[in-house]
């Protein structure tokens, strides 16, 4: 142990000290039981002692251990094994969470007792002085080695804490990057419709139009862009509320049919404009009453059906329902552009968005699925998305709990 040599050098522990300690051995040996006795009558008075001394037999055992420790001070062999063992004793005290200062003050107690013995047993004055000096040195070495155990444990703990901090820091950094990207994207998405709104109104105000029809046309475009902007802002507000845990729900029993009818009326218009067929495959007679917030449920339906229509250029969007073990399950299946498998998980992740060129081409905030997932789960249901990949269409299913009274009957 490199450190041991350093301690020896620092304490100036020499061959002469080794010789003197060896000479001391027979003198000290008879006093060791008494030393241990004294030690363990004093030590348990320490304020922390009650925490570490549990059984009465422990003291007996420790008395013997301490005597052995005392004997080893005078063997004259201070090698690797000695060092390891002293370090190990220190470690045992670290493990029982004994504060280092108690070890230090206990060592002072031992030291004082040993000096007493030396002064009382040795008449030869020069030898007595030498004995006191060498005794001090070996006790210093022991104390150093015990403290070394404390030090290395603190270092180890520090290293671990550092690692944890680094890890936490990395995660924070990542999260903040995702958020700045989100902010940049949001700024981009807001500026685009704003450009049209301001641009068209300005053109009309500047009198660029030649006919009243042309004016109406530009204002209508500005209005459309403004509605688009509003839907983005609403989605952003919803996400902010979700993040803050402040999105309110007013769950109650309600009928699905009227809401379905409203949503179909809204989205059919959208579908007809691009010659996509929107098909109602829901059971025309008996849809059970369900349990949830009807406004939020409507929002989910608009989002999911609206997305399906938006991302389908030809073919159809089919909406169907079925009963599923206490839940009503909705399925919205389209023949649209689909989505690559590896990107499907990201769709539901806050602040991540698969491909912004899609939202640019198809409109919307790109947050619809994130919000829908939250709403469906808050109402106790589940939402899933399946697609065999780009070009293969998309199927979204989600569930809402059936009102218990309906289940009983």
């Amino acid at each position: 142990m490199e450190n041991f040599l350093e301690i020896q050098r620092y304490i100036n522990f020499t061959e002469q000290d080794v010789a003197i300690l060896k000479r001391l051995a027979p003198i000290m040996q008879p006093h060791l039981p008494k030393m241990a006795e004294r030690f363990y009558s004093e030590i348990p008075k320490h304020p922390e002692a009650f925490k570490v001394f549990r059984e009465p037999e422990q003291i007996d055992r420790l008395r013997r251990s301490l005597q052995r420790w005392g004997t080893e001070l005078f063997t004259g062999v201070y090698d690797e094994k000695y060092v390891q063992q002293r370090y190990q004793i220190g470690h045992i005290h670290v493990q029982i969470h004994l504060p280092q200062k108690y070890v230090i003050s206990a060592m002072a107690l031992v030291r004082e007792y040993f000096h007493q013995v030396i002064n009382q047993e040795i008449d030869d004055a020069p030898f007595r002085m030498q004995a006191n000096i060498s005794m001090d040195k070996i006790l210093d070495i022991d104390l150093n080695l015990m403290c070394e155990a404390y030090f290395s444990t603190s270092m180890q703990a520090l290293r671990e804490i550092n690692q944890q901090l680094e890890e936490a820091n990395r995660r924070l950094h990542e999260a903040s990057e995702v958020k700045s990207e989100f902010l940049a994207r949001t700024s981009h998405e807001l500026r685009t419709p704003l450009s049209s709104i301001l641009g068209f109104i300005r053109l009309v105000v500047d009198g660029v139009c030649q006919t009243r029809e042309e004016e109406m046309d530009l204002l209508n475009d500005a209005f459309q862009a403004a509605e688009h902007l509003l839907s983005i802002v609403n989605d952003l507000l919803d996400v902010a509320r979700i993040e803050a845990g402040k999105l309110e729900m007013q769950p109650r029993p309600f009928e699905v049919r009227p809401i379905l009818r409203q949503v179909f009326a809204l989205t059919t218009l959208q579908a007809e404009q691009k010659s996509v067929q929107l098909k109602d495959g829901t059971d025309p007679i008996k849809l059970p009453r369900v349990w949830g917030d009807p406004e939020r449920f409507k929002q989910v339906l608009i989002n999911i059906i609206g997305n399906a229509v938006k991302f389908t250029d030809h073919g159809q969007v089919m909406v169907s329902t079925r009963l599923d073990d206490g839940y009503l399950q909705f399925e919205v299946k389209d023949t649209g552009i689909g989505i690559a498998k590896e990107k499907q998980a990201e769709l539901f992740e806050k602040f991540k968005q698969v491909d912004t060129s899609l939202t640019r081409r198809y409109g919307g905030s790109g947050l619809g699925l994130v919000i829908s997932k939250h709403l469906v789960e808050r109402m106790g249901g589940k939402i899933e998305l399946h697609s065999e990949g780009l070009g293969f269409g998309t199927t979204v299913t989600f569930t809402i709990p059936i009102h218990p009274k309906y289940l009983d009957s």
Binding site: R191, T192, P193, R202, L203, D206, T356, S357, R360
Partner: protein
């Protein structure tokens, strides 16, 4: 009067394209042509028919050799070709975060940069006039 100058608009938002037609075509008196087709952009530019390009950065329909590309890459293609390198490029983008302008200008070596919302048609026309006249100067010097 000399021939109308032609502005090529590369932009994926149909409403914004419509704005450019009204603001630059009707109000500014330019010929305005809009497309996202990269091959078409390059052919037109090479033919000498284009006096200035208004280029959006985030594009949804710009395909080049089977890959989706953006405005930065289109600018690179134009600058690389000596027949089109001189055409002034005006970036018009909704990217407006700290550092975007510097990053995009240095990546495209564009002549100027506008952040959306772009709605003041008079200022837009002034900017275009300035770019067209310095470019004419450049063309005379080199020719």
């Amino acid at each position: 009067m000399t021939k109308k100058q032609t502005i090529l608009v590369v932009e994926d938002n149909v409403l914004i394209v419509k704005f450019y037609h009204m603001a630059l075509g009707r109000q500014g008196g330019y010929e305005v042509y809009a497309t996202e087709e990269v091959e078409e952009i390059l052919t037109l530019a090479r033919s000498g028919a284009i006096d200035l390009v208004i280029l959006d950065i985030s594009l949804s329909g710009a395909q080049y050799r089977g890959k989706q590309i953006d405005g930065v890459q289109i600018a690179e293609l134009l600058r690389k070709d000596e027949d089109t390198a001189h055409i002034p490029i005006l970036i018009a983008t909704a990217h407006a975060m700290e550092g975007d302008r510097e990053k995009i200008i240095s990546a495209t070596s564009a002549d100027d940069y506008l952040e959306k919302p772009i709605y003041d048609s008079k200022k837009l026309i002034e900017k275009i006039e300035a770019l067209l006249s310095t470019n004419k100067g450049r063309a005379i010097q080199s020719g």
